[in-house]
Amino acid sequence: MKSNLYLVFKKEIREMFRDKKSLAMMLIIPFMIPLLVLGMSALFETQMHKDISQYNTIGINYEPTQIEKEIIEKYNINYVYDTKEQLEKKYKNNEINLYITKENNNYTINGVDNEITTLSAALAQNYLTTYKQYLQTEYLTNNQINSSDVINIITINQNITQEQNFFVNYMTVYAFLFIMMAITVSSTYPATDTTAGEKERGTLETLLTFPIKSKDIIIGKFLSVTISSIITGLISLILTIISLFIAKDMFSIYEDANIILSTSSIIYAIITIIAYSFLISGLCIAIASKSKSFKEAQSALTPLTFISLFPSLIAFMVNLDTNIIYALIPFLNYTMIFSDIVNENISILNIALMLLSTITIIIVVLKIIIKQYKSETVLFSN
């Protein structure tokens, strides 16, 4: 004899795989991840590598000396000579990216702070610093002083180890956040369909006349939603790894970056995905089973989507490090452990605590729901 729990699970899985909407949610949502990873990489690339022609047109209100012309040429600056008033107009009309005005020996870089102006200002600053150094050297030489003794009076060296490329770190951590998002979004539909949906279709009354305990119904439904979430999570993980590989080939921001996850990291990522799938499915089932209709369940589950991502976003913003307390806090722990996995800074203790927290929450939530899941309450609460 097969157990009723297995039979409910089998029934739910069969229904889920025959329902086009459930299948779509399970299989199509992960395909958003490559689009997000590649799209964000392309955006970073354009931010990082702006073509110089987009910001090198600089106006000046003075005739440059020959040496200035040489420096300007060295920095690839396309200069426009005009009066201050005319330069102001040209700047407003976007004909120039910036303008420099000169009064006696005072040079002023003029512009409004924006992305292009910042790049142009850096170019103008380089030109003026080089010119200033030239004038200092010339002055010292004319006064028979060894210029290098003065200018290089101290030497500054940098010995800062280059950390993981900022963009790579950012993208990989966000890619894992996308996986969590995909799992959350994809688990809400089957959870709603299997509880409030079944009630609305009228088949729940039939199911409740069978000799099955509430415990078996709830756990069977919970496990089927969890399986759907795990499938979404694993497809998302595979697509994330593939899209990061593609991005590495396509975009120069990933140059010299190590985006290959070790086998152990992949295993830990899978464990975290499975744990998160269990938690989110349990919560979705708990919320949806209390709802009177499909619509009400979907409305009730929408805040969960935001709540699940909110702690993760905060953790990124304030740059938190995982510790034993954070490893116990639901939602926050998964993101932080994903971040540790990306940085190959994995703590087995933190993973164990994350699993402990997940199991505790699931047991408590399911116990409450099973206790309240009586046919009269479920079918006729409204």
Binding site: L7, R14, T206
Partner: protein, 252 residues
């Protein structure tokens, strides 16, 4: 044997003023049904028939009173009782994405029919209800009558001793209704107990051994059709019902 003892069911409704008000959908219901008996539960819409049958089927809990099947009650033996009953209402829906075969197999498994007997049981039921032609088609593609036959099949497949039919023929064509009525008669012959609710008085008169008339949540008469007609000096149950309402008879 089925015994419904002093069953009350109280609900809360919202009044016009938005206030909550308690009311009894069923009050002091007592019914006994022996093996091989068909008990007709008759009454107009809103009389409390569906609530009563849902209590008997274990879907609703009574506010007071008990329901016993062969000495077992729901509080202590819910699973055992449910294995031995079949509940079918006019509103009962079945899983449209399955075929009748898959549904019946699933029901057999839920009712823990011996695995070696499942195939034979399905074939047997499909033959009795003339379902062989559409046994492997999806239920969503079937007609209303065919779907209701599948519904009956799922009640029959585990060979229960008690059947609870709530308006099972409402909305069906004559042929489909007749299949259900024939099925009920056959099961009676096998010694099964059948509770049968309907508002078609003529239908009940034809097949029921005993009639329980309910109005406003209370039993107003419980006897054979002949006895009721004789007592009310009427020729059919419809007139008898109106006579009883008019006379204000209220059997406790």
């Amino acid at each position: 044997m089925l015994k419904v003892k002093q069953v009350d069911k109280k609900f809360i409704r919202i009044t016009k003023n938005g206030k909550k008000e308690e009311f009894y959908a069923d009050k002091n219901i007592n019914i006994e049904a022996k093996p091989g008996e068909i008990i007709g539960i008759l009454g107009p819409n809103g009389a409390g028939k569906t609530t009563l049958l849902r209590i008997i089927a274990g879907i609703l809990e009574p506010t007071n009173g008990t329901v016993e099947f062969d000495g077992l009650n729901y509080k202590e033996n819910e699973i055992e009782i449910k294995k031995n009953i079949a509940y079918l209402s006019g509103n009962t829906k079945i899983y449209n994405s399955l075929s009748p075969y898959e549904l019946l197999k699933m029901c057999c498994e839920f009712y823990q029919v011996n695995e070696n007997e499942i195939e034979n049981r399905i074939k047997e039921v499909a033959k009795v209800l003339e379902m062989e032609k559409f046994l492997y088609n999806k239920i969503e593609k079937l007609s209303t009558g065919q779907t209701q036959r599948v519904n009956i099949a799922r009640c029959l497949v585990h060979n229960p001793n008690y059947y609870i039919f709530d308006e099972a023929t409402s909305g069906l064509d004559i042929i489909s209704s007749q299949i259900i009525l024939d099925f009920i008669k056959q099961e009676k012959q096998k010694g099964k107990t059948i509770l049968y609710s309907t508002h078609y008085m003529e239908e009940a008169e034809n097949i029921c051994d005993k009639v329980v008339m309910i109005n406003k949540g209370k039993i107003i008469k419980q006897a054979t059709a002949e006895e009721i007609k004789k007592e009310t000096k009427t020729t059919n149950l419809r007139d008898a019902f109106f006579s009883l309402i008019g006379s204000g008879t209220d059997e406790k």
